[in-house]
Symmetry: C2
Subunit: 196 residues, 2 copies
């Protein structure tokens, strides 16, 4: 397998975490976005969005971190990281959606503005939306160890990466003790790796 990343991408980190936890070998291709390597015709053939991560496994190519997580969990993880009965699959999907919405457009973009890697949009708008996301996570995690199915799944990995770094975006976890404990719980899982 081949995984296209940028060194600091949180979305690529989600996939690197699962690959590590599944003990899968893969080749890493590091793109230099300053040189526009994510917008070359060759890369856009792999991912028309021009973003990382992209996962290539034989003839199969997947873009979007949630699709990469779904693929790896099903292909190499049996039912452990993504159960396929209707109830479990939908329960996991809810949190994949939260990661694609409040956590991406809230936590990730608020942090982007704060640390100077995003130049458009309103910090306050992003921060408010991100805080909504933390509140939804806290509602679940104040009385549950994991987001779905009573065990670690790709729901946790998808939501973890931008939540873990949200304090850098001015959104600390002081008011979200369930979230803070869950972040530590994920970081204690076998195979957990740092972002950079």
């Amino acid at each position: 397998m081949k995984l296209y990343i940028t060194p600091t991408s949180g979305n690529a980190w989600k996939v690197r975490l699962l690959l590590s936890m599944l003990k899968q070998n893969y080749e890493t291709v590091v793109l230099d976005t300053a040189k526009g390597e994510h917008k070359t015709p060759e890369f856009l053939k792999l991912n028309p969005r021009g973003q990382v991560p992209v996962l290539v496994d034989g003839k199969h190519v997947f873009w979007d971190s949630t699709a990469c997580l779904v693929y790896l969990a099903r292909k190499y993880g049996g039912e452990q990281w993504l159960p396929t009965d209707a109830e479990s699959l939908a329960e996991v999907q809810q949190w994949l959606a939260l990661s694609n919405n409040e956590l991406h457009y809230g936590l990730q973009w608020a942090r982007g503005v704060k640390i100077g890697i995003r130049s458009i949009g309103s910090y306050d708008e992003y921060a408010t939306y991100g805080r909504n996301g933390l509140t939804v996570l806290e509602g679940r995690l104040k009385s549950n160890d994991w987001l779905a199915c009573g065990r670690p799944t790709i729901a946790d990995l998808a939501c973890y990466c931008y939540t873990a770094v949200s304090p850098e975006g001015g959104l600390p976890h002081d008011d979200f003790p369930g979230v803070a404990a869950w972040v530590k719980r994920i970081e204690a899982l076998p195979g957990w790796i740092k972002r950079v």
Copy 2:
């Protein structure tokens, strides 16, 4: 089953479409957002995000349109609308992600500003992002009838609803003939229903 909607919600329309195509009976609960019925303590217990759609099936409650689609497809549609092998599941997930990203924060919000139901944010930013989404859809649909797996899946329904109405948001399909043909193809599927 019980489905909470608002009369004009495009996200609820996605779920109503699948319920109709699966020939499932359900009760509709119409919320009046002007009266804040989506923010009552009772409704927030069902969905902490305070949004429609919410699907209740016995003791199971699902929020987010993509989770509702996943649940219904798996529970009542066999493998037809959501195959569960790794490759197919990930292929569908890519497009669910597009619907949660470029189509929601691009097409849906551009239309929201244009028709006066969204008061914050930049139309130009939303329109640019939405056009990116249409371009990604066109890249697939110029030479494929359906988004994933060579047949209609929940990927198509998730992406269809805000694409179909994007001309109302100043983003017509003239430059996207593959998209325009696909919209008509979906509207010819047995069980297709209008938004309102």
